[in-house]
Symmetry: D2
Subunit: 333 residues, 4 copies
């Protein structure tokens, strides 16, 4: 039985607490939040869980094996470091840290202490991403050409980060997970209209082998869009995360070029066949992720969404941020 302390009971914290408390192998001993309102909400929902105001109480508790850090990004480094220093494993919200140096330091500290870090890349545990991963691994799509995601909606404006740090971690963690290549460079453009942070941004990630990824994030869209196109040599895919059913559609469409002599003798062959929407597992992704974390702790295994994965995403975010400030200038990784 892994005993958890949870820091932060804002928007996402209640989901973490509920799931950790319901899993077979885990239990929430105490939750900490500075806001009296949040503390009341915990007590009402989970009368048996201890509620504290100061995170130090959790971090130093000998009863607790692992800490879940569910707070704003600028607090992740300090809280995670303190937890590791107290010998606790850490489950931490994405993005892992505010900069890559912090992430590296935490990874090293965990290694030294023989502790696990899991970064909450929840989307990797959705039925949709698992199915796409399976299709890529089985070679159904063939060689990947591009990954093109649109993730736009109205708000919520953040005070401390721009739309890249707010919305792109989802796509970057998915890309990091699905594309089995090391990204080379990032170019990003965007604009700030309202509060000094970019609210519209377009990120391109260059990979080897001509794979290109593009992410369109926007806090100022009148409609919510969560659509990703993936083009492959053999098949192409549309993932619309807002569809209740048929989230993933696989198209037997493609282009095949036969070169003959000379530029004007290229023969372009189009293929257009059936479409297929595989059934996608409908489970709560966070529940699966936390069960996996508990399992990793119980069996002393490193999760695939560990600190190193978190660091890779932070490096991409840093590169995108650096590029957007220079209006698209290429930033190598």
């Amino acid at each position: 039985m892994v005993k958890f302390g949870v820091i932060g009971y804002g928007y996402w914290g209640p989901n973490v607490v509920r799931n950790l408390d319901h899993l077979e192998g885990s239990q929430v001993v105490a939750v900490c939040d500075k806001s009296p309102t949040s503390r009341k909400r915990i007590q009402k929902a989970h009368p048996h869980i201890k509620v504290v105001t100061d995170s130090t109480d959790l971090l130093s508790s000998t009863e607790i094996d692992a800490i879940a850090v569910v707070t704003p990004v600028w607090t992740h480094y300090e809280l995670t470091k303190a937890a590791l220093e107290q010998g606790k494993h850490v489950f931490v919200e994405k993005p892992f840290t505010s900069d890559s140096n912090q992430a590296e330091e935490l990874i090293n500290l965990a290694a030294k202490k023989n502790l696990k870090i899991m970064v909450d890349h929840t989307f990797l545990f959705t039925g949709a991403v698992k199915k796409i991963g399976q299709l890529l691994e089985e070679g159904t799509l063939g060689k990947v050409y591009y990954y093109d995601s649109t993730r736009v909606n109205l708000g919520l404006f953040q005070h401390d980060v721009n739309v890249i740090w707010d919305l792109a971690p989802h796509d970057l963690s998915i890309i990091d997970h699905l594309i089995k290549e090391t990204p080379e460079a990032v170019s990003a453009t965007g604009q700030t209209h309202l509060n000094g942070h970019e609210d519209v941004a377009f990120i391109t990630v260059y990979f080897p082998n001509k794979i290109i990824a593009h992410i369109n994030v926007n806090w100022l869209s009148p409609v919510k869009v969560r659509t990703t196109l993936i083009g492959g040599e053999k098949k192409m895919l549309v993932w619309n995360d807002l569809e209740a059913d048929e989230k993933i559609k696989i198209y037997d469409k493609g282009v095949h070029i036969t070169s003959r002599e000379g530029l004007y003798n290229l023969l372009v062959n189009y293929r257009s066949g059936d479409m297929w929407a595989p059934q996608v597992e409908q489970v709560e992704a966070l529940r699966q992720e936390l069960a996996y974390f508990v399992d990793c702790l119980s069996h002393d295994q490193t999760p695939f969404n560990d600190g190193a994965a978190g660091l890779r995403v932070v490096k991409l975010l840093e590169a995108a941020n650096a590029s957007v400030k220079k209006r698209g200038a290429l930033v190598y990784l």
Copy 2:
């Protein structure tokens, strides 16, 4: 009665011929195409129109007042120049020319000869773009924040140009028409997978006053998308050109930021009201455009989609092309 010679009877030429021949104020005297198959198609569809193989016959004909150049872009300069030299007005396909020097030379030549050039920016004559233009002029959307277009589908691969030169002229001519600011710089990313030309590209155009435009063009998409989001201070708009009805939806949604003292005291107010889909004129855009050209010739007026408009689009295409080769590096205009 304006008498036209039309050069080129491939994909788009038949539409130009049909419309010019049906308009009250114009008439097609002769059509030229090098392909015997195309010549047969003309004869079958328009038995009364003269068919020629060599464009020189059209260009030198004293019977003809204006030439429609409906051929691949790399021939535009030469054919338009020859037509102007022979004293003919010119209607020419988009993009105007393969480079901006050619466009400038043609503009000067036309000015010297007192002849008109119209570049076929057909979309400006659609009910949708006219309605959007009206909404912007009336101030319904308020100050424009961004223009974000997705124009993707499977194929058709071009032999001589990349996806930017193939698909982006539509969006660039619309942006040039709708946004009443002079673009400052372009950043573009993309990738070539099949025949040596970019088949996926993402173009950002920076304007003054924090207006940003983004264009996503792709020849390798399994689904056809023609969607543009326009975010304004007062209202936001979605234009889905594939909808039979309700092409344009206007959302009474927005964000309003009240600054108080200090960064963390920004008050973000969201507004979410009704949606409204105005009826959009359903007419053949090309017909309207050609009628307008005939009208401009008859009244010696310069069309708004003249050589200068064509040149502005070519400059944006050149900048995008230069940037995409340097992986997003900013290219000033």
Copy 3:
């Protein structure tokens, strides 16, 4: 403070308990369910609420003012009757009773005892139905021509009732509420394929003044549809309850016939204008309904969805059932 006892904690009961317990003016004293699993779920979710196995304990409790009957339809009559006899007000699931005689008896009993009955016609409290009601009252649609609802999905098969009694009460209660005419007759068709109860059915309700309502209910549809068309003399409306936003779209479309002399001289004029999607209140309908019930009890007012409304719906269901058995034969009300 109205004190409630709730009977039944299956699919819908938890929502009733949660809302009654959270409202300012009400409180749940005890919940009854025969299933040990359900009783455990109550205790876990609401540790402070008393849990009982036998409904008699609730019905006879002097602490309780009102009973919520959230059980299968065949139990409604007996439980409601017992509650009324014990001097309790009753909130009862739809459909009110299994037959109209029962409903009439309960209405009379409540009147005699000066007690209130509310039948849970939840849809009447949704933002969508409230908005449609407002549009009809304001005359925006003009005279109503037809109401056409499709309510189909896969399952859930009921053991004791057919698809008419399962799904049509929603539409019938909405029609009863929106159309200010007394229905004249019902014709229904349908078929039973699997378990001896109709799983597909089509119901037509005739009203005076040429108003016609049609309801398509189906337990064997591969896709879920919840769409209603309402045609009026001035405007027409589509209500798609599965849309997250834009549930209601109002079309400025219509047909106007100018009669001249003779049959072949009718002039048909079509009108096609803008479409408009008003913002629809997004609140939990059940919460609003229960708050309204508590308010009615506190101010001794009769709810509009009272026993009489429940009876009208039961009569329509009876008529539809009688008609479907005779393959569409008209049943007068």
Copy 4:
């Protein structure tokens, strides 16, 4: 080479003329229309085709082998009869005739004269219906449970027939073609609001083996819908004819009931698997149909959409009309 005379050049006639004139094995000798405007349109589009005002000229021409009757339904009987009497084969618009006696008489006359009649049930030649037919024949859907079509839009109001005779022939001819059972009876409801003919109607057709078909036709709908659900024992299908691609979606969904002892022991098992959208042939249905007719004439074969098929549809229309007048009363066939 089959030589055709075509009577009627209104809405559909031009398509029949164009296709008959382009087919390898046929040729249009003359077209007849009473309207001077229509005659001008023929001359402009087909300068080589003879244009006549009086159908007698066509019917008596010895040059002509077959007549296409593309006129309003009330003229079909007389024109077809005259054509048959003159020894011509006949291609006639749907619905075949205004009543079933006429249809029977024409069938007998054609048989006596050894001539072919084809009724223009165009939909049977679409890629969609052909694919559905194939799926049913191959047993992919299993035993059919129901066929449920919605065919609604705004207008066009007809002067001489109601919405049943205008829109339902499409569905009835498809049902007649796809369902390999003889329909037993019809129940129809509807209402007339504007010009004395039903503008909204709901038709139920009962077949043996518990197959039920339902057709919802409406001239007063603000939106155009062309959607058919087909439920089968093994799989279920949605055909949305307004989708450009993915017209047909097949769902691996179903319900399976295991009976145990007693009513309350039925075990309902739901199955929910992948969805699959087969590619559907994209050809002009009318062209295929006319090519088939020419082929039937050349090889002296009876088309499946012959007079007998036309008669079956007319009988269903008559039954629906009789039922709608009696508000749903069952009419046996």
